[in-house]
């Protein structure tokens, strides 16, 4: 059953990559990449269980924290609308 879960997560990652490549707007791409990050965490956790090495969970935890930093970047995006220098007034 772990292999089924790995296959499903890999399929979902592929679909997210398709959306990130197609996505008409920038927000679609960010959404797809955010989902890709979550799926990476799941993939690492399930692979750790499949290989019988629960220490892989530490890597999954690390990726969750990297995702959290991604959230901070998205929040910055929310405020300024771009990742450039916020000194320049936008509106």
């Amino acid at each position: 059953m772990l292999k089924v879960a790995i296959t499903a997560v890999l399929i979902t990652m592929g679909l997210a990559l398709f959306r990130a490549a197609l996505g008409p707007t920038l927000f679609d791409r960010i959404l797809a990449l955010n989902m890709f990050g979550t799926k990476t965490v799941l993939l690492i956790a399930v692979i750790g269980f499949l290989r019988g090495r629960p220490d892989f969970l530490d890597l999954a935890l690390l990726y969750t924290l990297i995702n959290f930093i991604g959230v901070i970047a998205v929040l910055r995006f929310l405020k300024f609308g771009h990742f450039a220098d916020p000194e320049e007034p936008e509106e």
Partner: protein
């Protein structure tokens, strides 16, 4: 008892896999950005939660379960926050929700 736990774990993993793939298809196929948020939300909450809970059942009472719980907690904190921030950002930057009809949609009248 072991068999029951294994079966429950397999059921949770299978349900989580289904939710993940359904959410992925939704992310690819839904017509505009705000509806795609819905597909991404399914994979982030239902898919991740069910898969991680299935793994917790396999791990039993151990440090691995604690790590899985903290992973789940972080995911549940961060992914709705980022989804909300993205929707807010898209709205403030002038992306309108799509309210039209599909061309092949059957008319209700």
């Amino acid at each position: 008892m072991d068999l029951a736990i294994d079966l429950a774990s397999a059921a949770f993993l299978l349900a989580g896999s289904c939710f993940a793939v359904i959410g992925g298809i939704g992310l690819l196929r839904l017509p505009d950005f705000f509806s795609r948020l819905h597909g991404a939300g399914i994979t982030d909450t239902a898919g991740a939660g069910l898969i991680l809970f299935g793994l917790m059942l396999q791990a039993g009472l151990s440090l691995a379960t604690l790590k899985l719980i903290s992973i789940l907690g972080f995911l549940y904190l961060t992914s709705p926050t980022s989804t909300h921030a993205l929707a807010q950002s898209a709205l403030t930057h002038g992306l309108k929700p799509w309210l039209g009809k599909r061309e092949d949609e059957p008319s209700l009248r």
